[in-house]
């Protein structure tokens, strides 16, 4: 518990020091969505129809980009060796770093999402669903991401390999996240997507720290 708090505190401190890290995720999110709008062209009704998908997909890609460094820097400078020897449970280390990741990027995405959605003319009745689905979904992305980031430590092609591993694992979150927003756009009140997102979150919360811990043990070997 002590080490959990210490790691969380240090990671947040590093994030604040490396000013603008949160800003960068938000920036990527916004720019990628903008580019997308450029690529597709300005027909408003096409955009409104796509808005939930675009927001969710871009959020996911933004989360993905920031993941690679979650453990990589600690791995390269020897900090990870030390953390594994600190007496802390490796699962607690994974959980602390995941929480720090979510607090710096997930929350940033939550803040940026309404603005991006607005630019894609998301119908007003869907904002609640968008925020709720992101709130339930992004922690799962961080948790799964932690396992992926731990798995690719020391591999040759971190970034692209990580995407290849994670995108399939992310797809359920994306599907149900977008479905929740879609439902709200069409005015179908449905709790299924939220239930599934919640279930995925609980599942990830119980399994990912352990899987991540095993991956970390292998990484320092």
């Amino acid at each position: 518990m002590r080490s959990f708090a210490a790691i969380l505190r240090r990671d947040l401190m590093l994030a604040v020091r490396n000013q603008g890290e949160m800003l960068m995720v938000v920036g990527f999110f916004a720019i990628a969505a903008t580019l997308f709008a450029f690529g597709v062209g300005p027909e408003a009704n096409v955009q409104s129809r796509m808005s939930s998908g675009v927001v969710w997909t871009m959020a996911l890609l933004a989360a993905l980009l920031s993941l690679e460094r979650m453990f990589a820097l600690d791995f390269e400078d020897g900090t990870l060796d030390q953390l594994m020897l600190s007496g802390a449970e490796p699962a607690a280390v994974v959980l602390a770093k995941t929480l720090a990741h979510w607090l710096t990027t997930g929350v940033a995405l939550l803040i940026a999402a309404p603005a991006v959605a607005l630019s894609f003319q998301l119908p007003s009745q869907a904002y609640g669903a968008l925020m709720l689905s992101l709130l339930l979904g992004t922690p799962t992305l961080s948790l799964l991401g932690a396992v992926g980031a731990a798995l690719v430590l020391g591999s040759r092609r971190g970034g692209v390999l990580l995407s290849l591993l994670l995108l399939p694992l992310y797809s359920p979150v994306l599907i149900f996240g977008a479905a929740a927003v879609e439902g709200a756009i069409l005015g179908i009140a449905t709790t299924t997507p939220y239930a599934v997102l919640g279930g995925l979150l609980i599942l990830a919360l119980t399994l990912c720290p352990w899987a991540g811990a095993v991956a970390l043990r292998h990484a320092v070997e």
Binding site: R2, S3, A5, A6, I7, R9, R10, M13, L14, R17, N18, E76, D77, G78, T79, D81, Q82, L83, M84, L85, S86, G87, A88, E89, P90, V220, E221
Partner: protein
Amino acid sequence: MDHVFAAAAFAGTDLSCRRGGRLVFAGLNFGINSGEALVLRGPNGSGKTTLLRLMAGLARKSSGVLTWDGADVHDDLPLHGSRLAFAGHLDAVKPALSVRENLAFWADVRGSSLTDIDKALKAFSLSHLADLPGRVLSAGQRHRVALARVAMNGAQLWLLDEPTNTLDDAALSALQGVLQRHLQNGGMVVMASHGDTLLPQAKTLDVRAFIAKARTADLESAA
């Protein structure tokens, strides 16, 4: 710093380690008690680093047992981690944090006291660098921060991989003093080295002796 430790014994029996499908060493035994030091010797590539990481529980042994007071350390790796301090080829100094913040983080994780930080900084003449970010340190300064981390975190067993690299003369004698005091307080030191004589009283273990055996064992299992 300046903890006094109870009597303890750390030992390995019939250890072998495989890296990338090849046995690095085999049939290696060692034993060390409180207050003792062990210097690992051997030419480049003989397996000193591998053995140190194995002692720390980082590398995976292929066979043998590693015991602390008779109990297998692999039964509780986090516990084993908490009683040792390791300084490897990498210094684990965060560029964005100041020297003091770097050490404070480890004190925080380990639950050691913050006054120890100042003592460790002083022991390695780092006090005047305490507020500099890790990023601007020279190689030797960074290495001294790593040694200060070891000195500070109250572990009984110190595992040091060529700790004298990059150190200047003042730092060498500081290290020697810290090591001797640690041994007097009942600590243990295992250290890989190529020839310095920081600890004249230390036992030596020549890792080279176990390479030949390793090759033979390998050939047998392939047959």
